[in-house]
Amino acid sequence: MATMEREKLLEVKNLKKHFKVDRKAVLKAVDDVSFDIYKGETLGLVGESGCGKSTTGRTIIRLYEATDGEVLYEGKNVHGKKSARELKEFNRKMQMIFQDPYASLNPRMTVKDIIAEGIDIHRLAKNSKERNERVYELLETVGLNKDHANRYPHEFSGGQRQRIGIARALAVDPDFIIADEPISALDVSIQAQVVNLLMKLQKERGLTYLFIAHDLSMVKHISDRVGVMYLGNLVELAGSDELYEEPLHPYTQALLSAIPVPDPEVERSRERIILEGDLPSPINPPSGCRFRTRCPHAMDVCARVNPKWQEAREGHWVACHLYDQEFNKEGK
């Protein structure tokens, strides 16, 4: 289902985002990442913290200027100079949901004003009555009600706040939503509420998601395709079932085997690939393949040559020399 003829909504081409940390050092938070997102699908993005997932999302939505590369939304470049009108139009199409339910709502504003922010900015309501009605409608959509409108964020639980954040994003009727770890800070029982809501909204409104997370089991559940990031690079991208059943990249394999499964029987009999050591610093990443320092299959060539981002099978992309005819004659 992943590779059918479908319309591309977003194309990310060789995207780079580097941060200057001091006069000399440059932190390559995102380094040459390319992928497409099709209309109506959910693309999951996973990886350990600090691998550049949020930076990718924020660069796509223009919160950061890209260092290099381009992002095309419906064929139009997202970055670069734009008139105020074009910007406003763009802001309505693409929205973001944030990770921290405590930091993502202004503590001094009522829920009504928070949700209505997009309505106010884009003048979507003619008068305050219409504004109220839209806010109440949005509250209903996310499973809250109008009694909540005049309260302040600190009176809500984490899951409720996260749903308020979703309502705020929905207020401008976007087509594409970047969800940056929307459930990481929530309890398991509450995570399911938010994920179910996101999936319901997708069905009802035909939304497209970029779903960022470090919890791989939730990502598999919600995504059609999943990309795996490591130190600013995309190392593998495939349909979610395929990725979980037949991971190609050694990092993906290790990551999948590291997830504890809520099943004692399975846990007892499970063979883990335990990665040695820690994530290297993104300021001074290893040469060649960035994963080679922790890779159980590292070869000489891995230190010298950057692995190519190529389609190992149809719809299954990977950046690893093990799957490169040129370097791995015997094939893995």
């Binding site: 919160l63 910007l87 929205q95 009694d147 302040y152």
Partner: protein, 340 residues
């Protein structure tokens, strides 16, 4: 257990109809942030004591001069250096309110003051009523302090806000300027400033503000820098908010707390600084007096007429302590970590 066992009937094991709407119900009364702060502040006895003391002193500063029949600049050489004498309390000798000086002479008798004339806090060396002068002085001190705090507020918040909000080059240049200003000893700046302009309420206030705003601006800049990266600001930006909206709706309301705390500490600072200027002779010029000027004058005759220094000192101490108590209380009340 057997007690509860008896009360349980079979029909209690019927499924209870749960209202799904109830899941999201919030039972606590809704409180705005500031209501919550006030609720917490009310529990803090020290802060409330401070608040009451300040309110009383402010009231007295305006009412005090009026309830005494003597003007603050009425001189009369026939009644100089009288000790305090208060009707009623004059009979309780150990209070020192009986018009008797420290050597045991009843000055009122010696100077032939009519029986019905009382100087509650005594008089100074020019025969001016000390009571009236103290409250007038409190007025002036408070005026200078509030003006200075307002100056700090306006300049500090604007400067720190711009510097923090725009960041980058702008921030860099603005911060270098602050460092230079901060590098010059502020006493030098202030003394030069007052020497050039005549000492007066305005010039003293300006002198205090000229370096005082730096602290405020740093605080605000830090807060803005911290807020700028927070997700609710990012959310607002992805919605297409203009800079003006970001500042007015998001940044200002969230910096207000620390600005208020900082103000409650800069007010006593200004009072103290004004007193210091009076001590080195650069304060308010007679016949107008501030608390500092009164203490400075009284201090010269502390051994002979202690009442001249003691009463203004007491008022000033209460003021300073009260402001600090409120500041501490506010800091605790505004601290989001204590929120529940």
């Amino acid at each position: 257990m057997s007690m509860t066992e008896k009360k349980l009937t079979d029909d209690m094991f019927q499924p209870a109809a749960m209202d799904p709407g109830k899941h999201e119900e919030i039972t606590k009364p809704s409180l705005t942030y500031w209501q919550d702060v006030w609720r917490r502040l009310k529990k803090n006895k020290a802060a409330i004591t401070g608040l009451v003391a300040i309110i009383l002193i402010v009231i007295m500063a305006f009412v005090g001069p009026a309830i005494s029949s003597h003007g603050f600049d009425q001189q009369d050489v026939r009644r100089t250096n009288l000790p305090p004498k208060i009707p009623g309390l004059e009979k309780v000798h150990f209070l020192g309110m009986d018009g008797v000086d420290i050597r045991g002479n009843d000055q009122y008798k010696l100077k032939n003051i009519p029986k019905d004339q009382y100087y509650w806090f005594g008089t100074d060396s020019l025969g001016r009523d000390q009571w009236t002068r103290i409250w007038k002085g409190t007025q002036i001190s408070l005026l200078i302090a509030f003006l200075a705090a307002a100056g700090d507020l306006i300049i500090g918040v604007t400067y720190g806000g711009i510097s923090g909000f725009f960041g980058g080059k702008v921030d860099n240049i603005m911060q270098r300027f602050v460092e230079i200003l901060y590098g010059i000893p502020n006493l030098v700046i202030i003394i030069l400033f007052i020497l050039i302009f005549e000492p007066g309420i305005l010039s003293i206030t300006l002198a205090i503000v000229i370096t005082g705003w730096i602290g405020m601006s740093r605080l605000v800049r830090g807060q803005i820098l911290k807020l700028k990266g927070q997700e609710f600001i990012l959310a607002s930006r992805t919605l297409g908010a203009s800079n003006g909206r970001l500042i007015m709706k998001h940044l200002v309301p969230n910096t207000l707390g620390i600005v208020i705390i900082s103000m409650t500490f800069s007010i006593p600072g200004a009072i103290f600084f004004e007193a210091f200027l009076s001590f080195i002779g650069l304060g308010i010029q007679p016949p107008t007096a501030s608390l500092g000027a009164l203490i400075s004058d009284g201090f010269k005759q502390l051994r002979i007429y202690p009442h001249l220094a003691i009463y203004p000192s007491v008022v000033m101490c209460i003021l300073m302590v009260s402001f600090n108590l409120i500041g501490d209380g506010l800091r605790d009340a505004l601290d989001p970590k204590m929120r529940k």
